[in-house]
Amino acid sequence: MPINHWSRFGLLLGLLLVSACSPDAPPPSSVQRVDGHLDAQGLLSYDPGDYHETRQGTPGGTLRMSAALDTGTFDVHSSYHGNVQWLARIVYDCLLYQDENGKISPWLAKSWDVSEDGKTYTFHLRDDVTFSDGAKFNAEALRINLEHMRDPATKSPLAAAYIAPYIDGRIIDEYTFEAHLREPYSPFLYVLAQSWLSMVSPKQIREAPKSIAEHPIGSGPFVLQSYTREQGATFIKRADYHWAPPVTRHIGPAYLDRIELSIVPEAMTRYSTLQSKRSDFTLDAPAQNTAAMRASQNLVVRNRIRMASPYRSVTFNTLRFPFDDVRVRKAIAQAIDRDGLAWIAGFGELLAKSDYLAVNTPFYDPAYRDVLKYDVDAANRQLDEAGWTLRDAQGYRVKDGRRLSAQLLGFESPSFPSNVAVAVQADVKKVGMQLTIQMMPLAQLTDRRTAGNYDAIGGGYWHTNTPDGLYILYHSDSRASPTKSGNNLSNLSDPRLDQLLGAARRSHDPVELQALYSAAQQRLTEVVPAVPDFESQVLIAYRTAVKGLIFDAVHNTPFFTSVWLDQEAP
């Protein structure tokens, strides 16, 4: 999942408002702000109660919540919007779910078998699930959903690619479905747990696929009652729902009667409506207000990490001078002070990072987390060894009459705000490299990107629930070409890394997968295609009257089925 297009406008206003109180000294660490416990080895563990219900809630009430952006459509198969992660869970269910350790677990599928050759998946489905239009969930419904995801008319930007190896399916009996893949693809089960691959009513897909965008029919715990684009949506509880994922330990229908979602692009308004009790919950808590919210007795702030790829400050084009030299790439990675970046970009909420997988991703290996850590001396040594020993009048390094200089392209976004760009520029200047920054509109950046015309690009992250996110960002298959889009912006083509990530796609053995993904994480710190700077994080805030909040183990976003309201709370 790509750049989350937070309103640039909102950011601008936010900056305007906070510039008067900009932070001057970074705190020692932002570790305590992140949910969960980060141990000395660098492994993150969440409270188990974050993922399953610990006590029964009180039914009733309306949850009023705000989000910064509208997804524009409820047809999640045709979307790649970040908000689909939590939004789809309100009206839809998925075939599979994940447990708190990242292991695939049942949802609408009770169980599944994978053939020896990894190309045939057999799903045994629940037989008691219905969509809100009365249609049954069965093998045919699953088949129709997979077809809808890859139907060219759906114009799917994400789901279609995630199930690309799927050839066809066979209905063995009403509740048994056999999926045939072109090649072994172990991420298949993982992606089927993602919100973008939710199950839509087969009747609606057949009869009125265009209506899914505004009047979606799912099998989820709530039914959409009304939706006005850019304004909000109202959901009402479905009384006969009783198929929440077993991992959540939730029995029966959702506790809340209604959810009222408002789209509020302005950060200040999201914060102030929460504070004045005009809203109960915000899915996009403004980082500049979290200190005040944490200090308030009536508000709770949660800070969750998205799995897979962290935010990157710089992705190097490894085909171009000067980043075609791995020593230069490594030196730049070591020259950038991530703690400083995290502080100026996140008001102490962001967790600095110098390796390539988010700490809560399955098969994350913390062993290589310090290989590329901030170390100016090491950076200078690397550059000296690479032959950049001379300096010109401005103090920049020179080799063969050429200055160590490159251009960094960027687009204002949460993963790459201008102040981060400027800080990166200042950091690399300290080791004698000139970095010019060009911030540009997204469309222009896209053109430069498609044409391969860049030295380096700032920003970006990729959220998925499997370490296969590394394949999407760094495998040579993921390079873009005129006929193919791809997210390997570094144009890295490393046979060793390709072999590891490819083998991981063919394996289902956890021990083997751990070995392959550990080796891949190590290899990335050697080939340095990009500079990770901090974890990709989600900030939410809510009033203390909101109880029972658990997180979706797939996306680490709120899971509203188990949320309830303490009506007596102040």
Binding site: P2, L17, Y80, P152, P157, T269, T273
Partner: protein, 307 residues
């Protein structure tokens, strides 16, 4: 009648020009429309999807063929389907325009009302009154709506929560955005109006009216104001443009629905059909407003004959 027909024809010409310019601008601006349709730069459509969309939308055709098809379609009232929302543009605009009209109309009324009141009450009065009025107009007319909007929010929604900060349901949600949108326009208009009124109050016929025993107020309202209205009507183009431009910012700030916000989202996402649709709608209204202005000017000031 013949003049009206000629004007209408000219209006169609303006619309055609606007459609062509927008087409050219969108075509030559950055960003691949195929990617816009398939979810943006980070989406991972398959090569088959890319090829399919290129063909389906005719992007593989020469530019003049694309242009011809486009003009042909809009001549039939078909504005196509939004790349991002996947619904017909007319439907998308139809759902949003009500809120914008409400806001624009209430802001226009407020701005004109304030400008008239300020001009009539302060023109050629005590120099201090005049100076204060004139200074505040200068401040207002040079304050962008988003600054005023933030101040209004801070005071009336956050400090003293008397009005809702966001939404577009109910008259309460209309108050703050209306004020934020109207004040800069009112500031500008009342400067022009007072200047005009003061010029007119120097005219001999005003002295005549006074000599006939009419009160100062009656002279201003009945005689002078009528003349001062001519530039106001002429400025309605400016008012319209300010309302449209201001709506983008105001709708974002106050989380209102509307075509201003829709236009911004569409432009960022390179959703060409929506950008074209809204541009054409704006051009259409602009042409309509100007036609109306010519007619109105003729009514208010009989010396102005429509040529």
């Amino acid at each position: 009648m013949k003049q009206l027909a000629a004007r209408l024809l000219a209006g169609v010409g303006v619309l055609w020009g606007a459609a062509t310019l927008t087409f050219v601008a969108i075509h030559f601006s950055a960003g691949d429309p195929v990617l816009a349709i398939l979810g943006g730069p980070d989406a991972i459509p398959t090569p088959q999807q890319l090829a399919q969309v290129r063909e389906e939308y005719g992007f593989d055709q020469p530019l003049w063929v694309q242009y011809g098809r486009y003009v042909g379609r809009i001549a039939h009232g078909d504005f196509g389907e939004s790349y991002r929302l996947r619904i017909p543009v007319t439907e998308a605009i139809g759902k949003q325009i009500g809120a914008t009209l409400q806001l624009a109309l209430s802001a226009a009324l407020l701005a004109i009302g304030l400008a008239l009141a300020s001009a009539v009450l302060t023109a050629k009065r005590n120099p201090w009154v005049r100076r204060v009025a004139s200074a505040s107009e200068l401040v207002l007319s040079s304050s962008p709506s988003f600054v005023l909007g933030i101040l209004l929010l801070l005071v009336f929604s956050f400090q003293w929560p008397v009005l809702p900060p966001a939404g577009s349901n109910g008259w309460q949600t209309l108050i703050l955005p209306t004020i934020a949108l109207a004040l800069p326009i009112a500031g500008m208009l009342s400067q022009v109006l007072r200047q005009e009124l003061e010029d007119i109050l120097e005219q001999p016929f005003i002295a005549m009216a006074r000599a006939r025993g009419l009160s100062q107020t009656a002279v201003r309202l009945r005689h002078a104001l009528r003349h001062a209205l001519v530039p106001l009507v002429t400025l309605s183009g400016f008012i319209f443009a300010s309302l449209l431009g201001g709506a983008v910012v105001t709708e974002m700030l106050f989380a209102r629905q509307g075509i201003g916000r829709m236009m911004l989202d569409a432009a960022v996402a390179k959703d060409a059909p929506v950008v074209l649709g809204i541009t054409l709608l704006a051009a259409l209204v602009y042409v309509g407003v100007n036609l109306l202005v010519d007619v109105l000017n003729g009514l208010i000031d009989p010396r102005v004959k429509p040529r």
